[in-house]
């Protein structure tokens, strides 16, 4: 994770900006994937998913499905296994 991203995450947590946290954690997940850090990517994406769930953000379903495809989450309702 870059220093900028880390600072942005800290700011969003401190300000309870949950919508922003979704994008920031997903960005962290993508960066981790690019660096072949699968476990770190899943960790960050899980956080993105949880905050999406919390605020009812539509990205939640996609994030859940990505985690599901990696065997890390249940299949979203209405999606094929």
């Amino acid at each position: 994770m870059t220093q900028d991203l880390d600072q942005a995450l800290r700011w969003a947590h401190a300000n309870k900006d949950f919508v922003r946290l979704i994008g920031l954690y997903e960005a962290a997940a993508v960066t981790a994937e690019e660096n072949n850090q699968a476990e770190a990517a899943a960790f960050y994406r899980t956080h993105a998913y949880v905050f999406a769930l919390q605020v009812g953000d539509l990205r939640g379903v996609t994030l859940q499905y990505k985690l599901y495809l990696q065997g890390r989450e249940d299949c979203p309702e209405g999606f094929t296994r």
């Binding site: 476990e39 770190a40 990517a41 899943a42 960790f43 994406r45 899980t46 956080h47 998913y49 949880v50 999406a52 769930l53 919390q54 605020v55 009812g56 953000d57 939640g60 985690l67 890390r72 989450e73 249940d74």
Partner: protein, 388 residues
């Protein structure tokens, strides 16, 4: 420690003409308070809040009911649910202040997430970092604990024990009695909501509410038009009791405005009104043009909060054109209920008189109050038998 015994209660569980009231200990002993907590309040249908507290989908309000953390939620379908406000993971309180839930309910500890219907939706990292499932943690078995509830006259009743008969069965007679009032009601807004903090045991507020005997002495302002002989007792053994008046006078504002009536009421309600204590802790009032509900929150042995809410019959009665008369009505009722405070606090202090034997009842005037005592004593006795 004063043991709860049958003899105390047998003196209550007899005819009103010979009965004594519940002994002092039922008002001043922590042991009795705790016995009543279970046998009287948890084993029956108790009022804990109002539907108007969660007016919109996603609204959630935590409620502490005698130490049990509850959560009142209105889901996306507009249905109200009552849950234990405790995460199924490590028992963390989920919500500690009223708020709007945009999506899911996220536990602030390890972020387990629940839908507004209580289903467990996410268990992040439960199988290790980034692994959000585990064979041993079945989401379908770990939804929020639902508490049985029923909404009547916008009051949220709960049965903590889960073992009481259905609300509609327990209160079939009351629902039948007030079937005409089974119509939509509309909360009057901020000025129609107030609470009174009273230094008394919650039962004394019920007892005072049940009877009209005190009206000419405590509420002399009513005497000019609502005399004692204009009232009648309401007694439904084992369910509710109260009083009715045959001379209800509709409030009229200075400019001649009155509240709209409920639809299709029998003409008797033109001048009648009824005030009923729904056992154990809810006090209701019904009139042609408005209703009110009071939930008595037992804060401690000798401390009660009376939550008072006023409702009207049509949406227009909640609009600005009726603001003044709504305010007048709220002031009127608040004044009446405040006049009762010195009585219920005085009776509480009087219970420390060690030679008071529970007191006698007027067979003519105190039937509704004795009926409540009788019901409480019966619940306690039943609780004692179940504990054996």
């Amino acid at each position: 420690m004063q043991e709860l015994n049958h003899d105390d209660l047998d003196a209550v569980l007899t005819d009103v003409s010979t009965a004594r009231g519940l002994p002092n200990a039922h008002y001043i002993s922590q042991d009795r308070f705790e016995a009543e907590r279970q046998s009287v309040l948890f084993n029956n249908w108790s009022g804990v809040g109002f539907g108007k507290d969660v007016p919109e989908p996603g609204d959630a309000k935590p409620i502490d009911f005698l130490g049990i953390p509850l959560l009142l939620i209105r889901d996306r379908d507009g249905e109200i649910g009552v849950f234990q406000n405790t995460c199924r993971h490590r028992g963390m309180i989920l919500i500690d202040a009223p708020r709007k839930i945009e999506g899911a309910l996220r536990c602030p500890y390890h972020s387990w997430c629940y839908s507004l219907k209580g289903a467990l939706k996410a268990t992040p990292h439960v199988g290790g970092p980034g692994q959000n499932t585990h064979a041993a943690v079945r989401k379908s078995e770990l939804g929020l604990i639902r508490v049985r509830h029923y909404i009547f006259q916008d009051v949220v009743f709960v049965n903590i024990s889960g073992e009481a008969p259905e609300f509609e069965k327990v209160h079939a007679n009351l629902m039948q009695r007030w079937a005409e009032f089974s119509q939509p009601i509309y909360h009057g807004g901020a000025e129609s909501s107030f609470k009174l903090e009273v230094k008394t045991n919650w039962k004394l507020a019920v007892e005072n509410y049940c009877e009209s005997y005190h009206l000419p002495w405590i509420h002399p302002g009513l005497n000019s038009y609502s005399r004692l002989e204009d009232h009648y007792n309401i007694e439904q053994p084992g369910e509710y009791s109260g009083q009715g008046t045959e001379v209800y006078r509709q409030l009229t504002s200075g400019d001649g405005l009155v509240f709209p009536d409920f639809e299709g009421l029998d003409p008797k309600w033109d001048s009648a009104a009824e005030y009923i204590a729904v056992y154990p802790n809810v006090l209701l009032g019904a009139h042609r043009d408005h209703v009110f509900a009071i939930v008595l929150e037992p804060m401690a042995l000798d401390r009660t909060v009376e939550h008072v809410e006023l409702y009207y019959t049509k949406p227009e009665a909640t609009e600005a054109a009726y603001a003044n008369i709504r305010g007048e009505n709220a002031v009127l009722w608040k004044g009446v209920f405040e006049e009762d405070i010195f009585v219920v606090e005085g009776m509480q202090r009087g219970r420390h008189g060690v030679m008071f034997d529970g007191g006698r009842f007027s067979p003519a005037m105190d039937g509704p109050t004795h009926m409540f005592h009788h019901w409480v004593a019966f619940q306690l006795k039943q609780g004692m038998q179940e504990a054996l």
